[in-house]
C-alpha cells in the first residue's frame, strides 16, 4: 500500500551513514594526523603576503616565474627549521600573490628572509673544502686549506663536530683576508640554515659558501658572470649523448666573460686534493652553491653545456635555477601580520563560543517553532557538523587546508544556510497539508517542490563561494572554501537525511494523529481534522478553510 516514493528513505539513510563513516575513516585513519590545522590567526605566527611585480613596466608574469620565486622562498623558509611553514600562491599572472605563513614567533627573520631578491652569479672556484666546521686555529697556518682536505673516511669522527660559533652569512671579503679564511673554516655546512640560502651575495667580492646539499663548502673568487647575463637555460637530452645536459645561452657581455674565464680556468688543475685555484666554476644562487661544474675547454660564442650524471629532474631543476638569473620579478611586501599564540588562542576560543551560541540559538528557535520536526533539523545540523569536522581533518592532511578565523566565521554563517533548507521543506509540507493532503503525501509532494527551490538557492550560494574562492586573496579564500563545503553538505543532508527521516516520521501514528507537538497539528495549520483526510475520501475539502 505504501507508495513507492516513500519506500526509499531507508536506503538514503544508509547512503548517508556510509558517507559519514567513510569520511570519518578517511579523517581518522590510524597512523595519520587527526587534527585540523589551524591558520596563523588561530595559533599564532607570522604571515607575509608578497606581490610579485614585473621588473619592466607592463610585462606579464608567467606561472613559471611565479613557481621559481616560490621555490626559492620555500627553500629559505625551510631553512628556518620551523615545521609546517607554508608558501603558497594565490591567483596567477600579474594579480598573483605569494603567501608565506610561518607558525611561531620569528617575525623579523621571516620578513627579512622572504623579501630579499635572490641573486644568481657564476664564480671561479678557489678551493673546495670538507663541509664540516673546523675550530678556529689560534695561529693561522699559511696554508689554511690543509686542514680541510681531510677525507671523511680517513678520520672517522663518531661524535658530531663541536659547536663552533657560526659566522654571519654571507661570508664575504674584498680579498682573501685572514678573517675570511677563519670564517669559512668555522662554517658548518651540515646545519640546515647554512644551506637554505636567503643570503644574497655581493658579486664583486670573495664568497665562502656551502653546497646546497651540505656536501661541501667552497672558497669562491668574485663573480665573472652575473645571473642577468643568462638569456636562456634548458634541460636537453642530446641525440648522441649519454644523459641529460643543461644547455646555456648568454648575452654578448656574458659570452665575452665566459670566453675569458673558461680560457683561464680550463688550464688550471682539477679541483679537489687541495688544488687551488682549480678548473671549476660555481653557480651560486641566493648565497648557496647550486652546482660546480669544471671547464673542459675554453668556451667561445656564448653557448655552453653543463654535463653530469643528471636525471631528467635534476637537469630541469638546474635549468630552472639558471633561468632565475633572468627572472624579471621583484617581490613587494604587501602585508605582514603577526599574531601571538595567546591572541590566536583567544580568537579560536571566541570563534568556538560564537559557533556554539549561534548553533544553540538556531536549535532553540527550530525546536520552538517546529517541535518534533525541529528535532530532525537539530539532529541534521549535528550530523552536518560532524561531517564538516571530518572533512576539515581529512583536507588538513591531504591538501594542507588550514582553518582560519574567517573559515570559522564561514562555518558559523553556514548554520543559518543549513537551517534555511529545513524551513523551506517544512513550510512546503505545511503548504501541502493546507491544500488538503495527508501528512504522508505532503512529505513527498512537498519534497518535490522544495527540492527545486533548494537546488536553485544552494546553487546560487555555491556560485558565490566559487567566485569568492577563485577571485580573492588571503583570508577570503578560507571563508569561501568553508562556505562552499557547507553548502554541498547542506544539499547532502537535505537529500539523504532530512527528507527520508521526515518521510519515516510521517508514517508513524504519532505524527499522523497530529498532536500539537508535531509542529504539524491541524489547529495550527488551520485544518479541521486530519483524520478526515486520512480516510482518503477527499484530500481537499473546499470548505475546510472556512470551517476552521
Amino acid at each position: 500500500m505504501a507508495p513507492p516514493a516513500t519506500s526509499k528513505p531507508a536506503r538514503l539513510l544508509v547512503a548517508l551513514a556510509v558517507t559519514v563513516i567513510g569520511l570519518g575513516a578517511w579523517a581518522f585513519w590510524p597512523g595519520s594526523d587527526t587534527v585540523i590545522r589551524l591558520g596563523l590567526d588561530l595559533q599564532g605566527g607570522t604571515q607575509v603576503i608578497l606581490i610579485p611585480r614585473p621588473a619592466t613596466e607592463g610585462a606579464e608574469i608567467t606561472d613559471e616565474q611565479l613557481q621559481q620565486s616560490v621555490a626559492i622562498i620555500r627553500q629559505r623558509v625551510d631553512g628556518l627549521g620551523v615545521a609546517e611553514a607554508e608558501v603558497t600562491t594565490q591567483g596567477s599572472g600579474n594579480g598573483a600573490a605569494i603567501v608565506v605563513a610561518v607558525p611561531g614567533e620569528n617575525q623579523e627573520r621571516v620578513v627579512n628572509l622572504v623579501q630579499r631578491t635572490a641573486l644568481l652569479d657564476f664564480r671561479p672556484v678557489w678551493s673546495i673544502l670538507s663541509p664540516v666546521a673546523t675550530p678556529p686555529v689560534p695561529t693561522p697556518t699559511p696554508t689554511p686549506t690543509d686542514a680541510a682536505v681531510a677525507t671523511p673516511t680517513a678520520t672517522p669522527t663518531p661524535t658530531p663536530p663541536p659547536a663552533v660559533p657560526q659566522p654571519e652569512l654571507p661570508i664575504q671579503a674584498p680579498t682573501q683576508t685572514q678573517e675570511f679564511t677563519e670564517d669559512l673554516a668555522a662554517l658548518n655546512c651540515l646545519l640546515p640554515e647554512n644551506v637554505a640560502g636567503g643570503t644574497p651575495d655581493d658579486p664583486t667580492q670573495w664568497l665562502g659558501a656551502c653546497d646546497q646539499l651540505g656536501s661541501a663548502k667552497y672558497a669562491l673568487e668574485p663573480a665573472f658572470i652575473k645571473g642577468t647575463n643568462v638569456t636562456g637555460a634548458e634541460a636537453v637530452l642530446p641525440q648522441n649523448g649519454l644523459g641529460w645536459v643543461v644547455s646555456l645561452e648568454f648575452d654578448s657581455e656574458g659570452a665575452r666573460a665566459l670566453a675569458d674565464a673558461s680560457t683561464r680556468l680550463s688550464a688550471l688543475p682539477e679541483c679537489g686534493q687541495g688544488a687551488s685555484p682549480c678548473n671549476a666554476f660555481a653557480i651560486v644562487l641566493d648565497g648557496v652553491v647550486v652546482s660546480a661544474p669544471r671547464f673542459n675547454e675554453p668556451i667561445i660564442g656564448g653557448q655552453a653545456q653543463i654535463e653530469g650524471d643528471f636525471t631528467a629532474q635534476e637537469a630541469r631543476d638546474l635549468a630552472n635555477v639558471l633561468k632565475y638569473g633572468a627572472l624579471p620579478i621583484t617581490l613587494e611586501v604587501a602585508d605582514v601580520t603577526s599574531v601571538s599564540a595567546t591572541v590566536g588562542g583567544d580568537q579560536l576560543r571566541a570563534g568556538i563560543i560564537a559557533g556554539a551560541l549561534g548553533l544553540a540559538l538556531v536549535c532553540i528557535y527550530l525546536l520552538l517553532y517546529y517541535r518534533i520536526l525541529g528535532i530532525v533539523a537539530v539532529v541534521s545540523l549535528g550530523v552536518a557538523g560532524l561531517m564538516l569536522y571530518f572533512l576539515l581533518v581529512g583536507l588538513s592532511k591531504t591538501v594542507g587546508l588550514t582553518l582560519t578565523l574567517a573559515g570559522v566565521a564561514g562555518a558559523i554563517v553556514s548554520i543559518g544556510i543549513t537551517a534555511d533548507s529545513f524551513i523551506v521543506y517544512f513550510e512546503r509540507i505545511r503548504d501541502e497539508m493546507r491544500e488538503g493532503r495527508s501528512l504522508r503525501q505532503a512529505c513527498d509532494t512537498g519534497w518535490v517542490r522544495a527540492r527545486r527551490t533548494l537546488l536553485a538557492a544552494d546553487f546560487v550560494a555555491l556560485l558565490a563561494a566559487a567566485v569568492l574562492y577563485f577571485l580573492s586573496v588571503g583570508s577570503v579564500r578560507g571563508f569561501a572554501l568553508i562556505l562552499g563545503l557547507t553548502t554541498i553538505m547542506d544539499l547532502i543532508m537535505a537529500f539523504w537525511f532530512t527528507h527520508p527521516i521526515t518521510v519515516l516520521l510521517g508514517r508513524t501514528r504519532f505524527m499522523q494523529r497530529g498532536s500539537r507537538w508535531t509542529g504539524l497539528d491541524p489547529e495550527r495549520l488551520g485544518r479541521a481534522s486530519v483524520i478526515d483526510t486520512l480516510s482518503g475520501q477527499s484530500r481537499r475539502r473546499k470548505e475546510q478553510g472556512v470551517g476552521a
Partner: protein
Amino acid sequence: MSNLGQRIYRGEVSYNFLGRWKRWYILSAILILISIGAVAIRGLNLGLEFRGGADFGLPSATCSVEEARTVAEVATGGPAIVTVAGSGAMRVQTEPLTPDESLVVAQELGAACGVAATDIRVQVVGPTWGAEITSKAIQGLLVFIALVTIFLAFYFEWRMAIAALVALIHDLIITIGIYALIGLEVTPATLIGILTILAYSLYDTVVVFDKVKENTRNIAGQSVMTYEEAANLAVNQTVVRSLNTSITSILPVLAIIIVGAGLLGAGTLLDLAVALAVGTAAGAYSSIFIATPVLSQMRSRQPEMKALAARVHARRKQAAAKGAQPEAGEQAPTTLVSSRVESLERNQPKRSSRSRRKKG
C-alpha cells in the same frame, strides 16, 4: 491566531504587499539616498589594509592612551592613532613602516605598556595592498553578478533576473551606507561579509520567485486573477518562510556579534558579522518589497498580461452587476484571491494523477 497561517496561505487574509509598492519604493529610495549621502559626505572608514600602515594590538596595556600615543609618535616620527578596545586591550595605528621599524615600535610600546613584545600583534600593510584587495573584490562582484544573472535568466526568466539584481544592488548600497553612517571600519573581512550578502539576498529572492513562478505558470489561461494578484499571493504564501529563514540566518550572525564584541573587541569576526546582519535584514526586506513588485510591474506591462488584467476586471464587473455569491459582502480582493484557490484546486488533478501513477 491559530489558523492565521492557513488563512494567509489560502488568501483569505492577505496583505497587499504589491499594491502598496509606492510606499516601499519611497522608503527604499530614502534609504538609498541616505546611504549614498553618507558615503559621499562622511566617506567610508577604510581599515589599515586599504590605507597602508602599521597596526599594533596590545592584549592588555597598563599605560594610558596618551602615553601609548607619545611612545608611538616618537618611535615612528609620524602621527599615531590609539584606540582602546574591550577590557584593557589597546590598538595603535601608525603610518606605514618597514618590518624592521615596526619591530622597534613594538618593543618600545611593549616596554612602556607592560606587555611582552612577542605578545603584541603586529600588522604592516604596504600602500598598494588595499588597491589589490579592492580590485579583486570588484572583479569578484562583477563575475558573480554576471554568472548569477545568466543562471536566474535560465532558471526563471530574464525579468526575474533583473528584478533579483535590482534587489541585490539595493541591499549592497544600504549595507555600505550603514558602514558609512555608523563609521564602522571597512576591512577585508567586511568585504567578505558584503560578498556573502549576495548569496543571502538571492537565496530569499529565489524562494519567493519560485512560488511566484509556480502560481503564475498558467496565468494567461484564466481570467480570475491578474499577475500582480498572483504574485502577491505568492509573497503572502512565502512570508512565513522568509521570516523564518531570515531569523535563522541572523541568529548565528548575532552570536558572532555578541561574542566578537564582548570577547575580542574589533576584529575579523565582528567586521564580517555586522555586514552580514545588515545585509541579511536588507535581503529579507528587498525580496518581498522590492524584487517582487519590480517583477510584477515589468510583467504587467506585457501585452498578454494587460489583456489578462482587462479580462479579470471585466469579469469582476460582471460579477458585481449580478450581485452574486453569498460571500460577496466581503471585500472584493478577498473574494478574488479565494477564488484563486479554487483555480489552484482545478490544477490539482494533474499533480495527484502523477502521484497516483507512482502508486500504481
